[in-house]
């Protein structure tokens, strides 16, 4: 039935999927199965597709993605914890024809950097904010994040997050969508092929919108942290679907340009 | 020649702007000048004072112990600064509402009832110009023409129609000031 062998198929002419050229070959430092790798890849896909590698400046956070600058071959700045939107504001103001994005985790964007995030969005800075929400502080070893779910365990909420003590999980995109400066807010995930494709489209839209000077675009990616959650990557994905999505439902929250 | 002046009163009397006009006038006359306000919330309603130095040489300290001339526009200012006038120096005071008059005998003292005059002439906004006129009468450190140029320099153009009114006030102040004998 199959009269072709593998060497016949594995041929540049038959290529249907390969890593984009913006993402370089350096092995990423993330744990096996970490969502960061997929989102990095998607960013590279979009930068390559829009042909903006020479016009894009990324701002890396403090958190697991602190080394994001090592993997995508574009100019990058690495910000102090939470301050990425302030850096991005200034970069975009001084280089208005460039594509400027921040890449931030939940601790960076929703805890220490809440003020910078909110005010950049309120001013409607024409930047893209990529927000990785996995409900935990991964880099420092699994402490409670502002987005940790009620009852969810972390090293600083070993018996689970309690409303009475820790407050409720914080839904930043919902808050930010209220601001007139914000043109696009969407919540995505990368746990399935379908989700990855949707997320790629969302990131592309955010980059395209940022060039229209209509305000800030925010793409939240609800993610797993299988190490911090102490689960296998597959189980973490299923746990995310069952537990995270009810608090952080996927889909567009705001789109003033297509609306 | 160096002239070290303190102007003191309460907020709203135009103390700071009078100092500014003096400084601008000095600039027009080619002098070295410095102007330091007591700044901050006290500008709004509390006491307010400004130090102006006009000099032919480089000005060392803009912060002073004593003054060649003190201009006081209320009782607390008179109480605070009368003693800080250098012997042989000049004190100019507005007599409005004072319960204690100046008492030093080793300085030249002048009274100018600018507050009373400006109220009776319905021109409270030019009260500080009356005082400035008085100062220039007894201490002609700056030529009146240069004061008018300084004023012009300082005021934004949209306020230039007020210049004649200010000039009149300066001239009125020159007539209003009187020697005060202890």
């Amino acid at each position: 039935m199959n009269n072709m062998n593998i060497t016949d198929i594995v041929n540049p002419a038959n290529l249907v999927y390969k890593k984009n050229s913006v993402l370089n070959d350096l092995p990423m430092h993330y744990c096996p199965g970490c969502s960061h790798g997929v989102v990095h890849k998607l960013l590279g896909d979009i930068i390559e597709e829009l042909n903006i590698q020479e016009q894009t400046i990324g701002v890396a956070p403090v958190g697991c993605a602190v080394f994001a600058y090592k993997y995508l071959d574009i100019d990058w700045q690495q910000a102090a914890h939470g301050r990425a939107p302030a850096l991005a504001t200034a970069i975009k103001r001084l280089l208005p024809d460039r594509y400027v994005f921040t890449y931030q985790g939940d601790g960076d964007l929703a805890a220490i950097g809440t003020a910078e995030t909110l005010h950049a969005c309120n001013r409607g800075e024409n930047i893209v904010i990529i927000y990785i929400n996995n409900g935990i502080y991964g880099m420092t070893g699994g402490q409670m994040a502002p987005t940790t779910l009620l009852g969810m365990k972390s090293t600083t909420s070993p018996k689970g997050r309690m409303y009475e003590r820790d407050g409720n999980p914080l839904d930043m995109p919902k808050l930010l969508a209220e601001l007139d400066g914000v043109c696009y807010v969407t919540r995505q995930a990368v746990h399935t092929v379908g989700a990855v494709k949707k997320c790629r489209r969302a990131i592309k839209k955010a980059f395209e919108y940022s060039a229209l000077n209509k305000g800030t675009s925010i793409v939240e990616v609800v993610s797993t942290c299988n190490s911090g959650w102490k689960m296998t990557p597959d189980f973490a994905n299923r746990w995310m679907v069952e537990n995270m999505f009810s608090k952080y439902p996927l889909g567009d929250i705001k789109d003033t340009i297509q609306a | 020649m160096t002239e070290e002046i303190i102007i003191a009163g309460f907020g709203g009397q135009g103390v700071l702007s009078m100092g500014k006009i003096l400084a601008y006038s000095g600039l027009v006359q080619g002098k070295e000048v410095s102007w330091i306000p007591s700044y901050g919330p006290e500008q709004r309603g509390g006491t307010s004072n400004v130090t102006v130095i006009l000099s032919d040489d480089r000005i060392s300290s803009p912060v002073l112990n004593t003054y060649d001339t003190a201009i006081t526009l209320n009782q607390p200012s008179l109480d605070r600064f009368e003693s800080l006038v250098k012997p042989g120096g000049t004190l100019i005071f507005d007599g409005n509402g004072l319960s204690r008059m100046p008492s030093r005998k080793d300085i030249n003292i002048y009274q100018i009832n600018a507050t009373e005059y400006s109220i009776s002439h319905n021109a409270t906004k030019t009260m500080n110009m009356l005082i400035l006129g008085g100062l220039l009468k007894v201490k002609p450190i700056i030529e009146v023409d240069n004061v008018l140029s300084g004023l012009k320099k300082m005021l934004p153009e949209r306020h230039h129609h007020l210049l004649p009114m200010n000039e009149q006030a300066i001239k009125a102040g020159m007539k209003l000031i009187q020697v005060f004998t202890v």
């Binding site: 590698q53 020479e54 016009q55 894009t56 400046i57 701002v59 890396a60 602190v66 080394f67 600058y69 090592k70 071959d73 574009i74 100019d75 990058w76 700045q77 690495q78 910000a79 102090a80 301050r83 302030a86 850096l87 991005a88 504001t89 200034a90 970069i91 103001r93 001084l94 280089l95 460039r98 003020a115 910078e116 909110l118 005010h119 | 500014k20 400084a23 601008y24 600039l27 070295e32 000048v33 410095s34 102007w35 330091i36 306000p37 700044y39 901050g40 919330p41 000005i59 060392s60 300290s61 803009p62 912060v63 002073l64 112990n65 320099k153």
Partner: protein, 363 residues
């Protein structure tokens, strides 16, 4: 020194900074209001430089955001600055340390007020330690310039940018409330055009302006995982600081040639001491004044040299005594070093300074 044809203006020290920044080709200002320096941003907003030179002026949500905006813009090779006063500058320390670590140029103006805490809005010099000893974390030094007149507020703003770019370091203009609030004559620096993007790429190849085709991307970061790499960055910084210490010391001497006693003071204190020198000389005491213009690098050699021929030093500061420690280190016990200071926003009078000299050193 200056051409006679240049226009002489009268303005506040804070206003002079704003004018000088625009004229020296500054690309951006990011700040947050605080007394006694709010006139810097207010003047910029009045002057609307975005319509003339193209300079960006933005009121940030906090001092934390301001300094990080400076970081971001500096990372693009742009000439940018912020200004604040003591409590606000405390908030900026993290960002300043990051700039030092990432080797980014930028100018930070601190128009000091009395502290600690929220303190007063009156003048102070109590942030000397914070500025010259490193207020943020890690081994870094920051060129620190101390203007003593409105003219120097303008001139040293220009110099601060020059040093920042020459040594790739955050640079501080350390003024006090009086120098910020007082009006004096000033001749503003000549206009210099802002650098074009091509010029920035040529002069500062590290700038993140977008990766040029066929070239490696630029990364602005202060993070190194390997301690050896981090030590190498530190060695590079330290070597740069040694060069600064050798080449950039600036000071002014007044009546020091025949002086028996020398005041050491900066900023407004130096102006007060200049008058105290006049008072002393009128009483037959041969006093002089050494005014450090650069607080870092500190004029160590000059003080050493003076200590070989004077009978003593009096240091006057608007603090409990901070710079005096550096004077004592330089004098190294050769002659007495006395200190007189006022705190919390109080400014000593020339008489107080003179009495400090007379009572502590002479009698």
């Amino acid at each position: 020194m200056r051409k006679g044809s240049e226009e002489i203006m009268l303005m506040k020290g804070n206003e002079a900074i704003a004018h000088a920044a625009i004229r020296c080709g500054c690309d951006g200002y990011f700040g947050y209001p605080i007394t006694p320096q709010s006139e810097v941003m207010e003047t910029l907003m009045e002057l609307e430089p975005w319509n003339t030179t193209g300079m960006v002026v933005l009121q940030a949500e906090s001092e934390v955001a301001s300094i990080n905006m400076v970081y971001g813009a500096a990372g693009c090779g742009k000439k940018v600055m912020t200004s604040s006063s003591s409590p606000g500058v405390s908030l900026m320390q993290e960002g300043i340390s990051y700039m030092a670590g990432a080797e980014l140029p930028g100018v930070i103006v601190n128009v000091m007020r009395g502290g600690p805490g929220l303190g007063t809005i009156q003048p102070s010099q109590a942030d000397y330690f914070q500025a010259v000893k490193g207020g943020g974390h890690g081994d870094y030094k920051m060129p620190t310039l101390a203007p003593a007149s409105v003219q120097e507020m303008a001139d040293l703003t220009v110099l601060a940018f020059d040093l920042a770019f020459k040594y790739l370091t955050p640079t501080m203009l350390l003024a006090d409330g009086i120098i910020g609030q007082m009006m004096e004559k000033v001749v503003l620096p000549p206009y210099q055009p802002r650098l074009t993007e091509d010029e920035i790429r040529a002069k500062y190849p590290w700038a993140t302006l977008g990766k040029p085709h066929g070239k490696k991307p630029n990364h602005i970061t202060s993070l190194e995982l390997l301690s050896e790499d981090m030590e190498n960055l530190n060695k590079r910084l330290q070597a740069r600081y040694r060069t600064l210490e050798k080449e950039e010391v600036r000071f002014e001497e007044i009546a020091c040639e025949d002086a028996d006693y020398v005041f050491v003071a900066f900023g407004i204190s130096a102006r007060v001491c200049q008058k105290a020198v006049e008072i002393a000389r009128s009483e037959g005491i041969k006093a002089g004044l050494l005014r450090p213009i650069t607080l870092y690098p500190f004029p160590v050699e000059k003080i050493k040299e003076l200590s070989n021929r004077v009978k003593g030093f009096t240091v006057i500061e608007l603090s409990a005594g901070q710079m005096v420690e550096d004077v004592r280190l330089a004098v190294n016990g050769k002659v007495p070093v006395e200190f007189y200071g006022r705190m919390g926003g109080v400014v000593p009078s020339p008489n107080e300074a003179f009495n400090a000299l007379k009572e502590k050193l002479i009698q």
